[in-house]
């Protein structure tokens, strides 16, 4: 099947086939990453603008790296250097970028829905690199890509997402990707950060860490932000760590082959023991590397490239 989609705005709107096409294409690009000549000429002559109106290091670098590996020209703007600080609207900024003949926009924005808003204004593809607490589709795609590398098919696999789910776009994109792929997903964390409404997305919600971790094959930790404490969502980082931090004892409840994931940046000693973050079950840095391949696939497909065939077993 050919690829039709011009924008990548959410994982929620992707079909299972599209999701698997992205993964298959990412797998092909990943093989090019280990070659001597790591650049492919797929997007030669195209200009991609990374419009990062909210701080980011990992995602922005990975998008830049992916675009460069595809031989595209890349311009990155951040919030501080864009005219947004002079009061320019997002519409005007984006229309100017299009008028400057960019071929694609990658946007990171604090306001949920802003990539969809841009996609309606512009003729060029818009890639969502994270919009508020809504979605971070390439993260969800690279996380599930990483899980598949370790577990094969995710159908029926027990995945736990642990931490600040309420404010997490990473959690939402993973929830949509994992439920499409048939995984058995449980969200865990303080009840103030994991409200019951998430069950409407096809996942379970639990506040019993032991029960949830028992025999889980993947545990994905989310960063706990200090400002949530100030807003009264939990009493203290110490209490959070005491109740929900992943340590050696709790990791022993997992399936023996389980992997530990984190989208970064990590708070060592808060949501995860430092030792576990660096341990052999941790795939945290693999996630980062896979982030390049997955973003190459997304940029390539949305620029009009055609996907790799999805192998039936994957």
């Amino acid at each position: 099947m050919s690829w039709q989609r011009r924008h990548l705005l959410t994982v929620e709107e992707l079909t299972l086939t599209e999701l698997e096409q992205i993964h298959a294409t990412a797998a092909a690009f990943k093989r090019t990453l280990s070659r001597n000549m790591r650049k492919v000429p797929a997007l030669r002559g195209k200009t991609i603008v990374n419009l990062f109106l909210e701080p980011s290091t990992r995602t922005r670098m990975a998008f830049e790296m992916a675009a460069k590996r595809l031989s595209a020209d890349v311009i990155s703007l951040d919030g501080a250097s864009s005219s947004a600080t002079k009061g320019e609207t997002l519409r005007d900024t984006a229309e100017n970028i299009q008028a400057l003949q960019a071929d694609m926009i990658v946007i990171r924005h604090a306001a949920a829905g802003s990539p969809l808003y841009l996609s309606r204004l512009l003729d060029i593809p818009v890639i969502n690199a994270g919009d508020g607490a809504h979605e971070h589709p390439t993260q969800g795609l690279l996380d599930t890509f990483t899980m598949k590398e370790h577990l094969g098919s995710l159908r029926g696999r027990k995945v736990v997402i642990l931490g600040d789910i309420l404010f997490s776009r990473v959690a939402r994109s993973n929830i949509h990707a994992l439920t499409k792929l048939g995984a058995d997903v449980t969200l865990v964390g303080p009840s103030t950060l994991v409200p019951p409404w998430f069950t409407h997305l096809g996942v379970k919600v639990s506040h019993d860490l032991r029960g949830a971790l028992a025999d889980a094959e993947v545990v994905m930790l989310l960063r706990i932000q200090h400002e949530r404490q100030a807003a009264g969502h939990f009493p203290s980082l110490g209490e959070y760590t005491g109740m929900f931090g992943l340590n050696k004892t709790r990791a022993s409840w997992l399936n023996p082959k389980a992997i530990i994931m984190h989208p970064g940046p990590i708070n060592r000693g808060v949501e995860i023991d430092s030792e576990l973050a660096d341990g052999e079950r941790s795939v945290i840095l693999e996630q980062v590397t896979n982030g390049i391949a997955v973003r190459m696939a997304v940029l390539y497909l949305c620029a009009g490239g055609q996907p790799e065939q999805v192998s039936p077993v994957a």
């Binding site: 929620e12 609207t89 997002l90 519409r91 924005h109 604090a110 306001a111 949920a112 829905g113 802003s114 969809l116 808003y117 919009d131 508020g132 607490a133 809504h134 979605e135 309420l166 776009r169 939402r172 409200p195 409404w197 998430f198 409407h200 997305l201 807003a231």
Partner: protein, 430 residues
């Protein structure tokens, strides 16, 4: 001004329990008894066959943005939007720039109203100085300057003590206190109803409890002081319950529902369209049904539009950054006919009552009736006409309406204020 003879209408006047085919006679700015044959001959006739003739509609909740925000709306354009929607009496909220917290600003508004308005426009004054919720505004001087109510609408007085003093004090002047019910501590950064849809969209949720708590507070204060508190734009089914129980024991609270809360739910926000962003936010289907039930059994007293104009460039933003509010005046009647008459099976006269006599009574204005001797304020509408609403072609200066481009059923044909036709068939004639 020649006398007017409206012929062959279905005349609906809930105040005089009239709903029957007939004629209306308007002379010297008043509704009059059928005059002599000679006088009839001289009258200008309006053929109203197939139309409903009802009292001019009354809206106790509009934002006309003058002074200070006249890029959005003015008293001239807002009153024309009112006329186009069949409204002959409207009550303006005081959150202008500067806010209407002193008699000088009220006098300025009254001067502009006298000069520019094509319908009857009444100002309200603030409850607190600068609408800051810290000190009482000069409520007595505001009353003397002619306000019909006090309110900090757009803001909500957070201090229970100050609110208690405000209603106690306003009671001395028989001024209703209108409150926008929202506990700010629960709605920091909130832009839509809290629940399944906000969870999916990643938007900050505004829990219904933040409304319910202030509604309960106001009920307690109204009960304690005997003052009249009017609860603006109720959106939560739990608030409806609180009000129902309060009324059952005789507490002096009244409450309004907006056409948009009656017609729409949070599901409309799926595409992050800022034309569905307002405060309080659209809520669930269960809430919507509870509002309709509340209007049916009298728990909710009236319909009010919360007509809130904003320019295109203000609304055309990321959802989080767009201002709250939508237009209401030019679509209120067809939307209410659709939701309340055609879907919920209210009698047409009941809906007219909710939009005329009852809102007038809340602010104690002698409007909303076709009784002989009453002001000749009349709305003629075709309850069945289908038309496509284009907000850009409407009378309001702004076009921020979720119904723009949509097909509506029921259309105002003619609006008469004080015996003068101010709007007819798409044109302002004042």
């Amino acid at each position: 001004m020649p006398a007017l003879w409206i012929q062959n209408a279905r005349v609906i006047d809930p105040a005089s329990r009239r709903d029957a085919p007939g004629d209306l006679f308007l002379d010297q700015g008043r509704i009059v008894a059928p005059p002599s044959a000679a006088a009839r001959k001289r009258a200008r006739r309006i053929d109203a066959r197939g139309l409903v003739a009802c009292p001019g509609l009354v809206d106790v909740h509009v934002h006309f943005r003058e002074p200070g925000q006249t890029h959005k709306e003015t008293i001239a354009t807002g009153s024309r939007a009112a006329a186009a929607g069949g409204f002959t009496t409207v009550v303006c909220m005081p959150n202008t720039s500067p806010v209407a917290d002193n008699s000088g600003t009220i006098q300025l508004m009254k001067d502009v109203i006298a000069r520019d308005a094509v319908v009857r426009v009444h100002p309200t004054g603030c409850i607190t100085v600068g609408m800051k919720g810290q000190a009482l505004a000069p409520i007595g001087s505001l009353k003397r300057a002619g306000v019909v109510a006090i309110t900090d609408d757009g803001e909500c007085v957070q201090s229970n003590d100050l609110m208690r003093r405000a209603v106690e004090y306003a009671r001395m002047f028989s001024l209703p206190v209108m409150d926008h019910c929202q506990d700010y501590s629960m709605t920091q950064g909130a832009v839509m109803n809290e629940g399944v849809v906000s969870t999916r969209l990643g938007l900050r949720g505004w829990p219904h409890a933040a409304e319910d708590i202030i509604v309960a507070r106001n009920i307690i204060l109204a009960e304690q002081t005997g003052a009249h508190i009017h609860l603006q734009h109720i959106s939560s089914r739990y608030s409806v319950d609180h009000i129902r129980r309060a009324k059952a024991r005789g507490v002096r609270v009244t409450a309004e529902a907006t056409p948009h809360h009656l017609a729409l739910t949070e599901e409309a926000l799926a595409g992050y369209d800022t034309h569905f962003k307002m405060n309080p936010p659209l809520r669930t289907e269960a809430d919507r049904q509870a509002l309709i039930a509340g209007l049916r059994d009298g728990t909710l007293d009236i319909i009010a539009t919360d007509h809130a104009p904003h320019t295109d460039y203000e609304k055309d933003k990321e959802f989080d950054y767009a201002p709250n509010g939508i237009l209401g005046l030019e679509t209120a009647l067809p939307v209410c006919l659709d939701v309340l008459v055609r879907q919920a099976r209210f009698k047409l006269s009941r809906v007219v009552d909710l939009m005329t006599r009852r809102p007038a009574a809340i602010v104690d204005l002698p409007a909303g009736t076709l009784a002989e001797g009453a002001a000749a304020d009349v709305c003629l509408f075709d309850p069945e006409e289908k038309w496509r609403y284009d907000a850009k072609a409407g009378q309001s200066k702004s076009s921020n309406s979720p119904w723009s481009g949509r097909d509506l059923r029921g259309r105002v044909r003619t609006t008469i204020v004080g015996g003068k036709v101010v709007y007819t068939d798409g044109r302002i004639t004042a």
